[in-house]
């Protein structure tokens, strides 16, 4: 009886040895998929962009100030699309950066525990709303609302989607900034308050400077989200590439162009089809640069306590 039991156990043990050896290999192969994803993104963007520049001059792409992909005599200057994206990002930043940091300061420095427990989940709900819903909100509510103050505002414009993009990234900036503020040790606040500083003086001269790397990283990440934002701008900003600085006019962003081409039927193999990838590549470079800046800020300006 006992003998059999031990044999069984040894047999089991050998089977489990096989499992022990294969599991890490299987998990490692799964992990490789994340690397393959990056390679896949880079590969498709680079190969098709190179293809595009075989048809259209890269000099025109970088220097022309006109983007007119659907005309019979098309022009391919990326500038209006980048300008459109920047208009949206700047308006979004004007909305989201001060309010996001302000909200974070209130939640981390002034609010009672109870207030914080009520407000934080509400901000999380705001962060979870799909961007297509924000887009519908921009075109059906914010644009008409703004038009009642600013009559020359077009149906499609930069202002309304810009503001709504700001609202979309606000919870992200607020929550990351709050994390940064609450990692500042309490002894520093107490030191400042003990010297007779007011709460605001403590926040502005002690807490914020100490948390500046986290706050900076939060802002840059938020702006990177704004650059890649797609649905709000395709719904509410229109689809006319525009190289003027007027924020009351219709415009098109890089993401907006990608959606316009793919939701219509750009035949496979045309110039317009390949231009998708050149625009996607530009967008990818912008957001990657922002993410790297954010990581660099975190590393470079981190203060250890």
């Amino acid at each position: 009886m006992v003998d059999l039991n031990i044999r069984e156990r040894i047999a089991n043990n050998q089977r489990s040895k096989l499992v022990e050896k294969t599991v890490p290999i299987v998990l490692f192969s799964i992990t490789i998929i994340s690397v393959l994803t990056t390679i896949g993104i880079l590969y498709t963007l680079i190969v098709e962009t190179v293809h595009f520049f075989g048809r259209v001059s890269i000099v025109e792409f970088l220097t022309s100030t006109k983007w007119n992909a659907f005309s019979s005599t098309p022009s391919w200057g990326i500038f209006p699309l980048i300008l459109g994206t920047l208009k949206i990002v700047v308006i979004g930043a004007i909305v989201a950066v001060p309010t996001g940091i302000g909200a974070a300061i209130y939640l981390s420095e002034y609010a009672s525990d109870r207030t914080r427990r009520i407000i934080k989940p509400i901000l999380e709900v705001l962060a979870g709303i799909p961007t297509v819903v924000y887009g519908a909100f921009a075109i059906t509510f914010v644009t008409p609302f703004l038009q009642s103050f600013i009559p020359p505002l077009n149906h499609f414009n930069a202002l309304s989607p810009g503001i709504v993009v700001g609202i979309m990234i606000l919870p992200m900036i607020a929550s990351l900034t709050e994390d940064a503020l609450s990692s500042v040790p309490n002894s520093m606040r107490e030191g400042s308050l003990g010297m007779g500083a007011t709460k605001f003086e403590t926040v502005s001269k002690v807490v914020l400077p100490a948390a500046i790397s986290g706050v900076g990283a939060a802002v840059v990440l938020g702006l990177s989200r704004a650059i890649g934002e797609t649905m709000i701008v395709s719904i509410a900003a229109g689809s006319t590439p525009n190289s003027s600085f007027n924020i009351l006019e219709s415009l098109q962003t890089m993401t907006g162009f990608i959606v316009q081409v793919t939701s219509g039927d750009a035949a496979f193999g045309t110039d317009v089809y390949y231009s998708l990838y050149a625009v996607g590549m530009t967008l990818f470079i912008f957001t990657l640069a922002m993410n790297m800046i954010s990581q660099w800020i975190t590393k470079r300006f981190r203060e250890e306590y």
Partner: protein, 291 residues
Amino acid sequence: MLLDANVIEKKRSPRLMKNSFMKMLFLFSTLIGLVVLVVLLGTTLLDGWKYLTVDFFTNFSSSRPSRAGIKGAILGTLWLMAFTTPIAIFLSVGTALYLEEYAPKNKFTKFVETNIANLAGVPSVVFGLLGLTIFVRQFGLGNSVIAASLTLSLMIMPVIVVASQEALRTVPLAVREASIGMGASKWQTVSRIILPAAIPGIITGIILAISRAIGETAPLVVIGIPVALLTTPSSPLDSFQALPMQIYNWVKMPQAEFQNLTAAAIIVLLALLLMMNFVAIIIRNKYSKRF
């Protein structure tokens, strides 16, 4: 005399006033988000609730607003989630287990982690281009459920990996040592002790990531999911409609009635998301173990 009592006295009142003024300003910033949320939900409910009829749920999409419904969109979204969820879990939890439990601390592991952090910052529309090129064209899957599921799985993978890693990290070393000390092997410890202990955190991460995938529209537009379709998929290789695509399609329509249909569809989408978030919170509260 370094400190002049009079000067301090004189400056005190403006300093305190500045403090209360700034406090109001910070409170005001906090309330902006709440006000927007209330206005957004309020206008949507006002525009849409009358259109939430039985017909709205049982009709297919139509160019006539009176006959348009979301049957195709709802079923399509459910199909999409039914395939996205298992694929995303397989990829993400596998990756997190490797990185936390098996990976040696070397340059390659660090590279993989940085790479995942960077993938989290890639715009969803770029994932759409990846899906269009690789899954739709290269693999010849067309604009099918499975092509969209693979694209969305890769998109939400970084979120679940990071959440799972955090959950695995909260399992204390003592528990691992106890298991190994009792003669359990590495995989026995991981599969029977560590994973069950970390599962509430992992599930919360999965639900939050899936609810992000449900509302995601840009990648679906890019891989060419149709906006009008009179069939529901019967296999993962079939084409399908999706709820956010339906909203995007209706919001662009000029007729006023479509704006009400948009609002009604948004109510359904938000209700779905709210339900999932609620489940996530319950799981987090009920099963979270403290060691």
